[in-house]
């Protein structure tokens, strides 16, 4: 039996009818067309599906859509404001912290939540803060540099 839910995604309100077994990731991608949250391991390991739920990083593959009802969701599509990239997005480009790009939306959103709690991190803290996000291209060095640089600009 479907249930009514209301989601606020990237500042826009949506009223949806969902089956209880639908995952937030599937609703974002398949119903709302927001494919920035990637489908990766689907087992809460890789972090490619990371989105922010009331400013906290979560794996959208491991959240029932109906549990997100009434909460504010931020996906990578909602990060740039007025056509201007977020400092984290700019730093990722500047430092070459993107290669294939698959992990990037999750990595940037996890970094955003991390910097929200820890605005002036050390390199070690950045690495510790991003343990839930795997990147198979960059070797992490450039990602860490980008997050440290962005921390200076936010």
């Amino acid at each position: 039996m479907k249930q009514s839910i209301s989601l606020e995604v990237n500042g826009e309100s949506y009223k949806l009818e969902v089956s209880p077994n639908r995952l937030l990731l599937d609703v974002l991608r398949d119903d709302l067309g927001l494919t920035g949250a990637r489908r990766g391991c689907e087992d809460s390991i890789c972090g490619a599906c990371t989105v922010l739920l009331d400013c906290q990083a979560v794996h959208a593959c491991s959240v029932l859509a109906l549990r997100a009802s009434g909460q504010r969701i931020l996906t990578i599509e909602g990060l740039a404001q007025g056509g201007k990239l977020h400092p984290l997005q700019e730093a990722f480009i500047q430092y070459g912290a993107i290669q294939c790009g698959y992990c990037t939306p999750g990595m940037i959103l996890a970094a955003k939540a991390f910097l929200g709690e820890n605005p002036h991190p050390t390199e070690h803290e950045v690495r510790w803060g991003l343990i839930g996000n795997l990147c198979r291209c960059t070797g992490y060095m450039k990602i860490v540099e980008a997050v440290l640089a962005a921390a200076e600009r936010i």
Partner: protein, 285 residues
Amino acid sequence: MEDFQYLRPATIAAAVLLLAQHKGKARLIAGGQSLIPMLRSRLVRPAYVIGLEAIPELKRIEPRHGGLRVGAMVTHHEVLTSPLVKERATILSDAEILVGSPAVRNLGTLGGNLCHNEVGADPPPALLALGASAVIASPHGERRLPLETFFRGFLETALGEDEILAYIDTSALPSGSVWSYLKCRQRSVDKAIVGVGVVLRIEGGVCRDVRVALGGVAPVPFRAKKAEAAFMGERPNDRIIEEAAMAAVAEAEPMSDAHASADYRRKMIGVFTRRALRQALEIKS
């Protein structure tokens, strides 16, 4: 994932009634970080999923007789950032920071973690070392169970079909207690291959209280009582620490799985028990 009906009781009493009503066909969901992967892989196929997120009393951390009462729906992140936990059950904070990743800790709950009894979970050895107990609710009332008897088998606990883990209680530690939780793992987000929790107290140079608990090595986390016996009443020194570590190795019956062989686990039980004791005693290695 199979279809199911989602129920959201607002009180513990309503939740246990729903469990009793749908006996054998319902599963509780807390943060979902263990249950959702199990639903997805169809390891469990409940007709009803009962969400506990609307029950306020399960979400509190409260002081209790010098110790703590932690509601089962308190998230790992909330445990980790609670000054009260930091002050009264530091070893639990030390273990919680090693649970999964920030995203898992933001949704996953202490109660959910204990109830799934997954091999290598970090909170159980820390809580066993603290001497914590579980407060369990059912339609017939509440019962209290030492956590040592809560874990029963692979992914199994002492919870009956109409029971809910409501709270985890810890008692005050006697002054002078020291502790350590250490974890052997491959990747940062992994569960423990070996997790060791140690709480002990030295008075007049002699060990007066000691609890050593192991996780990750067997289907059930447990107190290493022979290791404790080797330490109790002794003056800690390198030889006693080594004897306690070897006693822990001898009494464990480690298993082999995809993460580590029994032999490797046996070795690491010795290494990590020794390190945990040394760290608790602030012996620099």
